[in-house]
C-alpha cells in the first residue's frame, strides 16, 4: 500500500477528514498518521483510534505491521 492509497482509505471512511500520513519504512508496512475529524467528537482516545484501526482491519492480518496514530478534533 502506498501513502496515497493509505490516506485515501481513511478519507473514504471519514469524508472531510484531514489526513497526513508518512510511510515510516518505505515498504508500506508501517505508517504514521495524523487525522483530524469531527467524527472523533465525544469519543475516548481508544474509540478514536479504533475508528482508524477498523479501516485497516484486514491489512493488519497481512502486510500492515504497525500504525502510529494521532487523532485531533477540529476546532
Amino acid at each position: 500500500m502506498t501513502k496515497e492509497e493509505f490516506e485515501n482509505r481513511i478519507i473514504k471512511a471519514l469524508p472531510n477528514a484531514k489526513v497526513e500520513a508518512k510511510d515510516m519504512t518505505g515498504g508500506g508496512d508501517h505508517f504514521s498518521v495524523q487525522v483530524s475529524s469531527d467524527k472523533f467528537k465525544g469519543k475516548t482516545l481508544v474509540e478514536q483510534h479504533q475508528i482508524i484501526n477498523q479501516i485497516f482491519e484486514e491489512d493488519f492480518k497481512g502486510t500492515l505491521h504497525a500504525l502510529s496514530i494521532q487523532t485531533f478534533i477540529p476546532k
Partner: protein, 115 residues
C-alpha cells in the same frame, strides 16, 4: 529468563483464553501485554511503554506475548485492538503505545494509575 515483574504463563488454550486473560489482568492494577519483558523488550513500541511506566514509578506486571501464539492473537480480539503493546489499568484496556504516550504527556495516565 523471567523478569521479576513478568507473569508466568499457565497453559493457554483457545477454550480457556478469556479466563486466562482475566486472571492475568487481575494480577496487578497495571498490566502490560508486550513483546519481551521489561528487562529486555523485543520491540521499540513495547520499550517505550515500559520506559513510561518506569518513569511514573508505578508497579506493573507484564505478559510476554511472544511466548504464546494463541495469547498473541486472542488478546487483540479481547481488546478489539490490532497491535501490541497493550496496557490494562484496573482490568480495563487503556491503549497502545501512541495513546499511552499522549496520556503520559498530558498527565492523564498518572492520574489514572494513582487515582
Amino acid at each position: 529468563m523471567l523478569a521479576s515483574n513478568e507473569i508466568q504463563l499457565g497453559e493457554v488454550i483457545k477454550e480457556n483464553v478469556n479466563a486466562e486473560i482475566e486472571k492475568q489482568i487481575g494480577q496487578s492494577a497495571v498490566v502490560l501485554y508486550m513483546k519481551g519483558n521489561s528487562q529486555l523488550p523485543q520491540c521499540g513500541f513495547s520499550a517505550q511503554v515500559v520506559q513510561i511506566l518506569n518513569l511514573l514509578k508505578v508497579e506493573y506486571k507484564t505478559v510476554d506475548i511472544l511466548k504464546n501464539e494463541i495469547l498473541r492473537e486472542e488478546i487483540k480480539r479481547y481488546s478489539n485492538w490490532p497491535t501490541l503493546p497493550q496496557l490494562f489499568i484496573k482490568q480495563k484496556f487503556v491503549g497502545g503505545c501512541d495513546i499511552i504516550t499522549q496520556m503520559y504527556q498530558d498527565g492523564s495516565l498518572e492520574e489514572l494509575v494513582t487515582g
